[in-house]
């Protein structure tokens, strides 16, 4: 039960952070990717702030096998590079650049009652389904 409660709480805090950071506005993301024209470096501060908090914490928990609630620590098993991560990340970057939305802000923007993001999320779901056949 408490695992579900903490999932909800983590999502709420993440969503508040996204709004305060300004990253729920696609224009801010476009500004970051637009390095040759009115560059807006804000996104670096967002990622930097989050890394500054999580990196030392992760280092401290590195040798633990279970979480505080007794769940197995689940880390990606994939290491090194392969075609999948390079092609996948390249495609993601193109989609991200086209409208300035990545998955987190896309979900959070439902709170803005912008119907256009529901179209984005539906297309994202189709992309996920198709990736299983690639």
């Amino acid at each position: 039960m408490s695992e579900k409660l903490f999932s909800l709480l983590s999502g709420i805090i993440f969503g508040v952070g996204l709004v305060i950071s300004g990253m729920t506005n696609p224009e801010k993301v476009i500004g970051f990717l637009s390095i040759t024209h009115n560059w807006d470096a804000s996104l670096i501060f967002v990622m930097g702030g989050a890394i500054l908090v999580f990196a030392p914490f992760f280092y401290l928990m590195k040798n633990k096998d279970t979480s505080s609630l007794g769940f197995k620590i689940n880390l990606p098993q994939m290491k090194g590079l392969d075609k999948k991560v390079l092609i996948g990340s390249s495609l993601f970057g193109v989609g991200w650049g086209l409208v300035g939305l990545c998955p987190g802000p896309a979900v959070s923007s439902i709170a803005l009652f912008e119907p256009i993001t529901l179209i984005f999320l539906s297309a994202m779901f189709v992309g996920i389904l198709i990736s299983k056949y690639v």
């Binding site: 579900k4 903490f6 999932s7 909800l8 983590s10 805090i13 993440f14 969503g15 508040v16 952070g17 996204l18 709004v19 950071s21 300004g22 990253m23 696609p26 476009i30 990717l33 637009s34 009115n38 804000s42 996104l43 990622m47 702030g49 989050a50 999580f54 914490f57 279970t66 979480s67 609630l69 769940f71 689940n74 990606p76 994939m78 290491k79 590079l81 092609i87 996948g88 990340s89 495609l91 993601f92 970057g93 193109v94 989609g95 991200w96 086209l98 409208v99 939305l101 990545c102 979900v107 923007s109 709170a111 256009i116 993001t117 179209i119 984005f120 297309a123 189709v126 992309g127 996920i128």
Partner: protein, 141 residues
């Protein structure tokens, strides 16, 4: 760089960092949104937790709008074709590449994962190239 908002960006980032810490500390899982989204819709494992995290992503901003007096900006293209292509590529790309801005960018870099660092550089690079090309056609200037 007159658009730079370093203080709100850094405070928002720190709050996101605390969310990632809380999620990892309690559930033992990394808060990668593309993965949580994909798993919530396609996998039975931890489905309720994943859906609750996504619900939180919506409730958080809703609550914030309720208490904050600041107007919320949401400026996006009005081209449906662009939205559909972008959404499709984001879904396909993040699922293939195993992460997005949160999973690779925040969690991966924090873990000093070589794979995630390269993934992050890659999607920023192709994003920059995409914007550059669009700007040649007069979009996003």
């Amino acid at each position: 760089m007159y658009n730079l908002t370093p203080y709100s960006a850094l405070s928002g980032g720190i709050i996101i960092g605390f969310s990632v810490v809380l999620y990892f500390y309690t559930t033992g899982r990394l808060a990668g949104i593309s993965g949580i989204f994909a798993n919530a819709l396609t996998s039975k494992t931890n489905r309720t937790s994943n859906l609750l995290f996504l619900l939180g992503l919506v409730i958080g901003p809703l609550g914030y709008f309720f208490v904050s007096s600041e107007p919320v900006k949401f400026e996006i293209t009005n081209s449906y074709i662009l939205i559909i292509i972008a959404g499709f590529l984001v879904g396909l790309g993040t699922h293939m590449g195993g992460g997005c801005t949160s999973g690779h960018g925040i969690c991966g870099i924090s873990r000093f994962s070589f794979r995630s660092i390269v993934a992050t550089i890659t999607f920023i690079l192709t994003g920059v190239i995409t914007i550059f090309i669009l700007q040649q056609f007069g979009i996003y200037l």
